[in-house]
């Protein structure tokens, strides 16, 4: 029952092949990430009705909405906090959200740049342009304060 060198064939085969790391680049080129990979959500502006469902269902509270009593408004995404679960896509009543298939994951996970923390998903009506830019700078300021608090806490 008990034998030794059961793995002899495997060993010889691997010996003939040489190190695997030699072929890494080739293997990555041969096996790109699948088409349906999940990354951050995107909103189609024409369809969005500013109902706020995506904000309610988001488990990590990474989507923020600001709107007036008409349907003007904008939706912000806090990129590092999004875990790409796709709840916003599933529960969107008008199918305005789709999950981006951009496989450039490392850039969207930790943007390395505080100005890219918040990303505007959609802006409608009077909230476009200057108003949106001002809102973005406010958000960055708020984020900066939080970082300051952490610094103080650490001493």
């Amino acid at each position: 029952m008990k034998k030794i060198l059961v793995m002899g064939r495997e060993a010889l085969k691997n010996h003939a092949k040489g190190p695997v790391t030699k072929h890494v680049l080739k293997r990555i080129a041969e096996n790109p990430p699948p088409e349906d990979i999940r990354t951050i959500p995107r909103i189609i502006e024409d369809r969005c009705i500013m109902c706020g469902t995506c904000v309610k269902v988001c488990p990590t509270h990474c989507i923020e909405i600001e709107k007036d009593n008409k349907d003007n408004g904008m939706i912000w995404l806090l990129k590092p906090q999004c875990m790409w679960c796709g709840h916003c896509q599933t529960y969107c009543p008008v199918d305005a959200i789709h999950i981006d298939r951009d496989p450039n994951l490392s850039v969207s996970l930790f943007s390395f740049n505080i100005h890219q923390d918040y990303e505007m998903l959609v802006a409608k009506g009077s909230y476009k342009g200057d108003v949106a830019d001002k809102k973005l700078s406010d958000l960055i300021e708020a984020g900066g304060k939080k970082i300051k608090e952490v610094e103080e806490f650490r001493g």
Binding site: K3, I37, R38, T60, T90, F112, I147
Partner: protein
């Protein structure tokens, strides 16, 4: 009864409270190269033999149960898979079945949705088991096997990634159905990959049963006989290796497990080799089931997602599922609003600790890594209830938001994290 199992009730840290006869004390963890996850084992030795063993847990509390009371049922669907890194789909499955039962819509789930859920569960079992016996071989000093198994594990991970968009955390399930469909092209692409993996797992089984250098490390080590197993109540593969033939999929069938062909695997020897063989055979069973499910998907049609109201009516329900590590137990209480009143998770590893400590009695210290690994320890599973996110080394506690910002800042100014 408690007299026989005194070991746990000792409070030793300096050896003053050690059991009589022990002359050496070994402390493993919380940070130790053997274990990827934090747990503190205290092993009392007499010479080379183990007299008693003890464990401390609680180094990885994240407060999921408390957090769940502050989120809605819908949001929790995506929080619950984070209870465990590897067996995420089964936690989500048990959760959605519990919520569906409370909402009273468990009849409305279509067969197609159930089949897709089952595929996700079985794929998870396959990759978790392959991961486990790879690490077991590594602990036994047989690193070649680690590399071979993990190379072959990529096949199933590629399939999961293709179907769900994520590698390890498929997160396919929702209350009322599933998130994504498995179209025919994808299923056709997966079939030859599964065939290849079946061949590879049969080869792994051959190595574990025939190769002397690994078999000698596992055979007759850490024996847990059936009478002891009944007292310390192991679950999952740990119990099935000791002759307790209970699997939640057979015991109280959920999804479509009663309508699909599969065999319950159990061994009666009770040593580490038996639990290894249980997992190897289960991997083959699961692969066979995956092929069946993909075949059945071609002829089954149905709605993927049933309509569920946000508010879940009052009631309580106790749901179970068979995780790769054992029985996963959830108990949920709804109070008529859209948030749960109370949600309790018991992940399988906590139930298996007793059995593992029992296995150690009288064994050699050199066999400790293998025995400790035998129940597939997962301490994210074991303790999940506070909000500490403790980063090792320097103590620092951050919430997720702050953590993300911290990383960004560290990268921006190109300086170390701490």
């Amino acid at each position: 009864m408690t007299e026989q199992y005194r070991s746990r009730f000792r409070t030793l840290t300096d050896g003053s409270d050690a059991p009589p006869g022990a002359d050496h004390h070994i402390f493993i963890g919380p940070q130790h190269p053997w274990a990827e996850e934090p747990a503190h084992f205290i092993i009392h030795l007499k010479g080379e033999r183990v007299v008693e063993a003890d464990i401390r847990i609680g180094f990885n509390l994240r407060g999921i149960e408390k957090a769940m009371e502050n989120k809605t049922w819908r949001q929790n669907t995506m929080l619950i898979p984070r209870a465990c890194g590897i067996c995420s789909a089964v936690h989500q499955n048990v959760y959605v079945r519990l919520a569906e039962k409370l909402a009273g819509i468990e009849d409305q789930i279509s067969e197609r949705a159930k089949l897709i859920r089952m595929f996700s569960l079985e794929a998870e079992r396959i990759h978790s088991h392959i991961l486990w016996y790879g690490i077991l071989a590594h602990d036994a000093g047989f690193d070649t096997m680690l590399h071979v198994t993990w190379r072959d594990r990529e096949i199933i991970l590629d399939i999961v990634e293709d179907f769900s968009g994520n590698r390890v955390n498929p997160a396919l399930m929702l209350i009322g159905g599933v998130k994504r469909d498995i179209p025919k092209e994808k299923a056709d692409r997966a079939q030859p990959m599964l065939d290849k993996l079946i061949k590879q797992v049969e080869y792994h089984k051959k190595v574990f049963t025939e190769e002397a250098s690994i078999r000698n490390r596992l055979e007759d080590v850490g024996i847990l006989i059936k009478e002891d197993a009944k007292k310390v109540t192991p679950n999952g593969p740990t119990g099935r290796g000791s002759g307790l033939p209970f699997d939640v999929r057979k015991a109280t069938p959920y999804e479509l497990y009663d309508k699909i062909d599969w065999n319950l695997v159990y061994y009666t020897e009770g040593d580490i080799l038996a639990t290894t063989l249980v997992r190897l055979d289960e991997t083959l069973e699961s692969l066979q089931m995956c092929k069946q499910i993909l075949y059945q998907l071609e002829s089954t049609q149905g709605e993927l997602l049933a309509r569920v109201k946000q508010k879940i009516p009052e009631g309580s329900y106790f749901a179970r599922g068979e995780a790769p590590r054992g029985e996963d137990v959830h108990y949920g209480i709804a109070n008529g609003t859209d948030t749960p009143e109370r949600y309790k998770i018991r992940a399988p590893s906590l139930g298996n600790i007793d059995a593992t400590l029992k296995r150690m009695d009288g064994e050699y210290v050199a066999d400790m890594p293998v025995i400790l690994r035998s129940y597939d320890p997962c301490f994210s599973c074991t303790n999940r209830v506070m909000i500490i996110n403790e980063v090792t080394g320097e103590k620092m506690i951050l919430n997720q938001d702050e953590f993300a910002r911290k990383v960004i800042k560290a990268k921006k100014y190109n300086r170390p994290f701490f």
